[in-house]
Amino acid sequence: MTPDDVAAAAAAQTNTTWILVSSALVLLMTPGLAFFYGGLNRAKSVVNMMMMSFSAIGLISILWLFYGFSAAFGDDQALGDTPGFIGNVSQYLGTKHEELAAAEFIGLPLYVFMAFQMMFAVITVALISGAISDRVKFIGWLIFSAAWFTLAYVPIAHMVWGGGLIGASPEDGGLGVKDFAGGTAVHINAGAAAIALAIVAGKRAGWPSGSFKPHNVPFVALGAGLLWFGWFGFNAGSEGGVDGVTALAFLNTQVATAAALLGWIIVEWIKNGKPTLVGASSGAVAGLVAITPSCAFLSPLWSVVLGLVAGAGCALAVGLKYLLKFDDSLDVFGVHFVGGWIGTLWIGLFALPETSEVGESLIEGGGVTMLGHQAAGAAIASVWSFVVALVIGFILKSVGLFRAKPEHEDGGLDAHQHGESAYDTFTPPVTTGSGAHAAPSVPAGV
């Protein structure tokens, strides 16, 4: 071996090690999400809320092994000269052990890349659950998870990352959309499905005038912290190795998230009078979402500005559900859909030179062409995911597998769906809500 060969072998090992570590980091995000959502939820259905995330780890990991990875990352099934919607479903079937164990993918052992991407599929499905807390049968959630994963996550991941229509370069007939770690494939995708499911599931009893106060604020902060930690694997791991881009993505992830945390609490400080820990945690997640597609393509300075805009923008966007009258319980739309769009469009506005084959970003003098492509890719994912989720949801609802019975919702899904309780003392509800903007109402005292 020449010295260059030795160096290349060492670099390949380093890259593989980093992606193994990143995979474990990304896995941790889903239990983190369970705490984040669990804390935001009411005490009577916190087990159900966390189970929706944990069940996604169980179910989606297996589906990803068997056919998900192959359909997403197998050779593109082109439509004539245009890149297609899906990969070769049989190419990397999980049953082909001898073949796959010997294969490479982007310079990594294929199994390493398959495991890394598996964690993305898991959390994308879990993200949707925040829109339908407290009111959906667990079996309905499981069936939805498998169906939406198959019909929306896999094709959109293929279109964005697997050589399909959205991400393929314009030379090959694609849109050339830049999505480094999943602004479109993960957050816009999950956010659009969340809007559809919130509509299909309908409002929780009493929403928005009843009490839907987060039941455990420290859980929310714990979950946000675990998400933040795991997100370094999500973003910096998406380089597929260790180089200058990994470093940039890592640093941008930190500074954008920090700025978004500040952006959110500044807005609520001005709007509501006090900065809250729920706001700081939510702002951090909004920043992580927005920097996800763009972390490799921005200077740290523009990442900070993106964070501020995303934190402040999402803090305002979470109020929209009260105007639009849909009970997106834990704000998947306001945080993931809106944050994903902001980060995706930001690339078209402020990307570094030579980011895209489509042309330069607006600030680099490339006009709005790149912005238009970014918007088109995000729009395709939004509509696709929304329609798929709406159809699956309506089918489940029509056969009675979706919305839980009112008495079970009232008593809490934990007891009825899981036969479990999160806490061994009974705490009666001690608050009433007044919705977003209404005046507080207090019954007569004794």
Partner: protein, 112 residues
């Protein structure tokens, strides 16, 4: 015999306990309760949605006393519990027909 019940702010418990001790009251029962009166609770805002927390944490103290002492004990509790701010709580007195000490079977004033 009388039962004196006080619902007070949690951080006034120590002062009330000291005052009762100084009056020679030899025991008390304390429980954590929630409630509101004129104070009406407070509001909290999460992600822009405002919620009214109506039931605030309070401490309830129950003491059994000889009715001869009732006025000065009520005064002692009230003085110790008072901060002057809204939400200081209430004290009330109930007549008690009988008291039995479980261990010895003593009854009436002997059981206090």
């Amino acid at each position: 015999m009388k039962l004196v019940t006080a619902v007070i702010k949690p951080h006034q418990l120590e002062a009330v306990k000291e005052a009762l001790h100084a009056m020679g009251v030899s025991g008390m029962t304390v429980s954590e309760v929630q409630g509101y009166g004129r104070q009406k609770g407070h509001t909290e805002v999460y992600r822009g949605a405002e919620y009214t927390v109506e039931f605030l944490p309070k401490i309830r103290i129950d003491v059994l006393i000889d009715e001869i002492d009732v006025d000065k004990i009520v005064d002692a509790v009230v003085n110790a519990a008072r901060t002057g701010k809204i939400g200081d709580g209430k004290v009330w007195v109930t007549a008690v027909d009988e008291v039995v000490r479980v261990r010895t079977g003593e009854r009436g004033l002997d059981a206090l």
